[in-house]
Amino acid sequence: MTALRTLYDKIWDDHVVHQAEDGTCLLYIDRHLVHEVTSPQAFEGLRMTGRKVRAPEKTIAVPDHNVPTTLDRADAATMTEDSRIQVAALDKNARDFGINYYPVSDVRQGIVHIVGPEQGWTLPGMTVVCGDSHTATHGAFGSLAHGIGTSEVEHVLATQTLIQRKGKNMKVEITGSLRPGVTAKDITLSVIGATGTAGGTGYVIEYCGQAIRELSMEGRMTVCNMAIEGGARAGLIAPDEKTFAYVMGRPHAPKGAKWEAALAYWKTLFTDEGAHFDKVVTIKGEDIAPVVTWGTSPEDVLPITGSVPAPESFSGGKVDAAKRSIDYMGLTAGQKLTDIAIDTVFIGSCTNGRIEDLRAAAAILKGRKIAVKRAMVVPGSGLVRAQAEEEGLAQIFIDAGFEWRLAGCSMCLAMNPDQLAPGERCAATSNRNFEGRQGRGGRTHLMSPAMAAAAAITGHLTDVRELMGEMV
């Protein structure tokens, strides 16, 4: 009898090229996604050593971090000199090494983690890597996906493999159903709140349970996207009919007999009943509330009904860290979260820049006006933007007072011109609230798109359920 295996075990086993006596493995990589920030030094390394890209047909590049999202971005003057050089380097590297490429001018351009699934590059059971920690997103398809550094980018370009040691298995089960107003973002933030930002270090997380099954593919991508914020390299969700329906017909998905063969394989990708997990976390779906972050670590999560905690309520090194966070964020212990006024609202990023995210925000914004200084929606890709325009969502955002932007990473990490000013406070649907993340001195509160829309309308952090009326 074969040993009982987890989903992670199965994908891992199917990609081992070579295993050394000490357990170090050479793992085959099916898809390598590339963006402009973490790749130039890797391509330069190939040139210096006279190496080629081993599998250009499995390598996909798109510029996303630096690119402006304003409508005039075709004008080169909208980018700083160093950003222009970095994007130009990707253009040249893609051409020189013959890899798949979606330039800024292509309607399919967008955030690499949104473009990959959208174009059908990401498929169940694959190994997917990218020089970007949010590669975990692709785990929503039941593919083993994680971020790598630039040296490893060069390694994958040259060899289509990675030197890896297997991680441990962790199961995160979300039982039951979510309550109205609670979304995938609230799940993933609540898990990090429960486990801490180092709770997943050394593990690959498999998310399961009824509440995960009930999520759309977009929601599942949101959940897996932030596995890295919990310290886990990768998050996984077993593929099911929703996964297959999402993948079918996409430009790079298999067709015909290959589709049938793929489907038969994909249906074997689940954790065997009774397989061993090294760590198990269970959260009741109905216990999850709409949440926001108050501090400068993604683990600083509380239900919107809560108050800023006292640093003394923590222990160890977290006491000083919480003091520093509260000071940086300009808050006081005991302050109600709903009393925190917001200047800017940012809806977008690889966490929440997909069509369902825009629908959720638009549902709250419809017929209302913003009460903040600045609000922007940055669709995750040109195709998400086009679909949102077709569905009438763009007009809802514009009527509410939002800026309707072109695709890119934008204010999630503020490498392009979209940045917070010092002291400015932002309700953001992105993934990191680190000091200076959205601009030096900027203050970030992470939340779901619906919660960000609610904050935009009231001008302060708000429980979205109060604005949902008959929707609840």
Binding site: D14, V17, H18, D22, L26, Y28, D30, V37, T38, P40, Q41, R51, H65, I85, Q86, A89, L123, G125, G131, D132, S133, T135, G147, I148, G149, T150, S151, E152, E154, H155, A158, T159, Q160, T161, I163, R165, T197, A198, T201, G202, I228, G231, R233, W259, A261, A262, G317, D320, A321, R324, L413, M415, P422, R432, F434, E435, G436, R437, R440, G441
Partner: protein, 201 residues
């Protein structure tokens, strides 16, 4: 990559937990297409005011630590993004070893690719080394990769674990792409088998 065998140097104490890669090297410095030159911007927003003046309180601006080669850090050092600019900046400044109770996974791997040794020790050992680091330039910590030990200035020795393959590469300054390319026939065989088993991939 420079070899790492033994190192004796000044250690800077950074007890803050969750020091993330945005703190280590803020995004505005990721726009380079080179690996070198990032040392001056290491911990930029903690180290300099908005107008570029040094913040005297920041540890690496203090006379004792301006040439530190080791950092003793709080839990979960290097969390956040995969940017290899973080170890590049540390290396360019002169840091060759970081000691903590835990590291974020991607950062941990990135260190080994750049001749930096991340050392994981239990809380109690890190606390003692943190106290030692606080003594300044007179307290030099020794890290011996071969023996897998860290020795404080007063002679206390702490043993640490390290992956044998990573140790081998670091001690010999090996380029692991070259090592992998020696297994080209195994990769060829895998691709051939996979073309039959999973032709859609």
């Amino acid at each position: 990559m420079d070899k790492f065998t033994t190192l004796t140097g000044v250690a800077a104490p950074m007890p803050l937990v969750n020091i993330d890669t945005d703190m280590i090297i803020p995004k505005q410095f990721l726009k380079t297409i080179q690996r070198s030159g990032l040392g001056k911007n290491l911990f930029d927003e903690m180290r300099y005011t908005q107008d570029g003046q040094e913040i005297p309180d920041f540890v690496l601006n203090q006379p004792a630590y301006r040439k530190a080669q080791i950092i003793v850090a709080g839990d979960n050092f290097g969390c956040g993004s995969s940017r290899e600019h973080a170890p590049w900046a540390l290396l360019d400044f002169g840091i060759r070893c970081v000691i903590s109770t835990s590291f974020a996974d991607i950062f941990f791997n990135n260190c080994f690719k750049n001749g930096i040794l991340p050392v994981v020790l239990p809380q109690e050992a890190v606390d003692q080394l943190m106290d030692d680091a606080r003594k300044g330039a007179n307290a030099r910590i020794t890290v011996d990769l071969e023996a897998q030990t860290v020795t404080s200035s007063d002679g206390k020795t702490f043993a640490f674990e390290v992956d044998a393959f990573k140790k081998h590469c670091l001690m010999n300054g090996l380029d692991d792409i070259g090592l992998t390319m020696e297994k080209a026939s195994a990769i060829d065989a895998f691709e051939k088998k996979n073309a039959t088993l999973h032709p859609w991939a």
